[in-house]
């Protein structure tokens, strides 16, 4: 290992973030005592803390590093990611947050069982929580591994995964949900600071956001702007691999026209397909946000429904402000670090957030400190999202599988002990999986998790909260049908991409011409099908809802007998006390 390459500032600031996280975990372990503290933070988290914690959990590695990289490599179309990540929350607020909170259950599987009186449905929901959880965990782990090997050149990939996995597993096992709330809230502010400060410094040196975008025009920047400022602050020439200015700044660029381009369609035929791709992407991201289980579980940690709504408002402001910044990294990266276009993935545009501060001088103090801050922010990003996922998955194992299925009569003490054991088990498994995914693309995997959540959880929650006629078979068919269709489509797309990439690489190595495989040829002939398979939300979300309606109508007899009471609990103001009444009745009838 070459120690001379290590930047002491980067190492120190990242180290402080990790150590502070461990310290907060130990500190909060002293105050987390009851089972309720562990599962839903005692339902007493204040609006400010909870909003910071949700935001901290939400801004993952993909948000912190991935978006900047995507904007740099694909331009305008990639802006939909931050906007929809932030705005999906509005959908949660409008349709789901209030009812879910009033119904009051520890986890989503609790809601699934409570709403339909079906232990079977709880089992299905548990499997889905764990499945989406692991799916979303792997990219976080990958981010941790690649960042640590960036900070300490020469360090193997798995070390970062194991470090982050061990720290967070320890924290969750010690403090549960309550412990993690404090940690995540602090990590939000670390990330916000880490993404905004370097931007303010860089923009003050290289000119404003608008000025930097104005460089990207067909025919080059206007002469006046080109001559303004010192020569070293002029835009650098773009390499061959970079997208052209007009395609990069305009809508329907490289991201959304890929399939149509592969098919060799002329621009006027490609544009409607790009529009379709854009709509499908928007639906996946907005509905997916409203359906991610680790985000939903947080609504139960608010003391009451009004607090839950206020929390969502603050979350939208906190993440909205954050999401203005990553695209600026992408824009600056395009203008001043175009050499990154020559590599791909984590060696190319994906590391623009970590690399950009070095523009201020690789060995200058300011450049080093800013690099250190962005690396610390990246660490906070993997750790906080992984903590949230680990809490929701551990909750599913300890509360739903152990507490409800294996040993329903378990005492709170036993359940707390089980929570700790489950945290270690799930954390270990997630770490192990994380070490195996070095070659996968972060953004792509996050996109898949969103596509699956959008077609399964979102229809389930939306329809269960607003339609009295839902039955358990209807809900299960819709959720599983939508989820499995989305999973099948995204898997088909990614497998086909891997096959064609390995084929191309092999052909290049052998020096022969690449003969496309059957699937690649099929996509070439059918760009519409390729788009519907790569971005399936536009048809899987309506399919899931349709399945729910049709199957529920067919099994009308199975509508829960007390559906009206359940709807009252979901919708009536908490001040009326219907919830307590509902619990009493249920206990009275032997539940």
């Amino acid at each position: 290992m070459d120690f001379s390459q290590i930047n002491p500032w980067i190492l120190a600031l990242s180290g402080i973030t990790v150590i502070a996280t461990i310290w907060m975990g130990f500190r909060s372990a002293k105050t987390s005592k009851s089972a309720s503290d562990f599962f839903v933070a005692g339902r007493s988290v204040s609006v400010g803390w909870n909003a910071s914690a949700i935001s901290g959990e939400y801004l993952s590695a993909a948000s912190f590093m991935g978006i900047a990289g995507m904007v740099m490599s694909m331009g305008y179309d990639a802006l939909w990611y931050p906007v929809c990540y932030a705005c999906g929350y509005l959908f949660l607020l409008l349709f789901i947050a209030g009812p879910l909170r009033r119904f009051g259950a520890y986890t989503i599987p609790d809601f699934a069982e409570g709403r339909f009186d079906s232990p079977l449905f709880r089992r299905i929901a548990v499997c889905f929580v764990l499945f989406i959880g692991f799916f979303y965990t792997m990219p976080q782990m990958k981010g941790a591994g690649t960042t640590l090997s960036y900070i300490l050149p020469g360090l193997p990939y798995w070390v970062g995964v194991v470090v982050v996995g061990a720290v967070i597993t320890l924290n969750v096992a010690l403090g549960g949900m309550k412990g993690i709330t404090l940690v995540q809230a602090v990590q939000y502010w670390i990330k916000m600071f880490a993404i905004s400060l370097p931007i303010f410094v860089l923009l003050s040196v290289y000119g404003g956001y608008g000025k930097n975008l104005s460089f990207n025009q067909s025919g080059g920047p206007p002469a006046i702007e080109r001559s303004a400022g010192p020569a070293e602050h002029a835009r650098k020439p773009l390499p061959e691999k970079a997208p052209k200015d007009e395609a990069w700044i305009a809508p329907f660029g490289p991201l959304t026209t890929k399939a149509a381009k592969a098919a060799g369609l002329p621009p006027e035929e490609a544009r409607p397909l790009s529009l379709l791709y854009t709509y499908s992407l928007i639906i996946a991201l907005v509905c997916g946000t409203a359906g991610l289980p680790h985000i939903l579980v947080r609504f139960y940690t608010n003391p009451d429904g009004v607090a839950a709504k206020k929390t969502t408002m603050w979350v939208m402001i906190l993440i909205g402000v954050f999401y203005v910044f990553p695209p600026i990294f992408g824009v600056l990266g395009r203008n001043f670090m175009p050499e990154l276009y020559n590599a791909t993935g984590s060696k190319g545009p994906d590391k623009v957030v970590l690399e950009l501060p070095t523009l201020l001088g690789k060995h200058s103090v300011l450049g080093s400190i800013l690099s250190g801050i962005t690396c610390a922010g990246a660490f906070a990003a993997f750790m906080s999202t992984f903590s949230g996922l680990l809490v929701s998955m551990t909750g599913a194992v300890a509360h739903d599988i152990y507490g409800r299925m294996l040993k329903p009569g378990a005492s709170p003490k036993e359940r707390m002990r089980m929570f700790k054991i489950a945290a270690v088990g799930v954390g270990g498994l997630a770490t192990l999986l994380g070490t195996q995914v070095e070659l996968l693309d972060i953004n792509f995997m996050v996109g898949q998790a969103f596509a699956i959540a959008a077609a399964s959880y979102f229809p389930l929650l939306f329809m269960s909260a607003w339609w009295r006629g839902m039955t358990m078979p209807g809900a299960a068919t819709g959720m599983l049908g939508g989820g499995i269709l989305a999973l099948a489509c995204v898997t088909l797309t990614s497998v086909s991409d891997i096959i064609s990439k390995t084929g191309q690489a092999a052909a290049l190595k052998a020096g022969t011409a690449w003969t496309p495989d059957a699937l690649t040829l099929f996509w070439k002939g059918h760009p519409l099908l390729r788009i519907l398979s790569e971005q399936p939300a536009i048809w899987t979300v309506p399919t899931a809802i349709l399945l729910m309606v049709l199957v529920s109508k067919a099994t009308r007899a199975k509508v829960p007998a007390d559906a009206r009471m359940k709807m009252l609990v979901l919708h009536a103001p908490e001040a009326l006390g219907l919830k307590q009444e509902y619990i009493q009745e249920h206990q009275g009838t032997g539940h």
Binding site: V83, C87, P251, K309, K310
Partner: protein
Amino acid sequence: MSRKPNDQTDFIHSEEFLRGLMKRQLRLSIACASAFLLLLFGLPLANYLAPALMATRVGGFTLSWLVLGVLFFPYVWIIAKWFITRSIALEAAEVCLAARKNESPSNH
């Protein structure tokens, strides 16, 4: 409230109350969602139908980039703020209504 737990014939357990409640809540949510979806689905359509207009430069930004990358966020905050104020007021009104009707059951 001095109700017996199993007395389910009063106003707040009635079909009328539930229907009114859900209808008012849903109407508010749909109104807010429409305002949001108008911009969310309208922007790609504007990009598609009027590319020249959306590429107009405003302070270096293209119009489309300015809307999506910056102005979208405050727009959503305004919708959220409005929804929260209205839905808290709606809940307070529902509680008042339920209390009034429960005290004078002959009125409904």
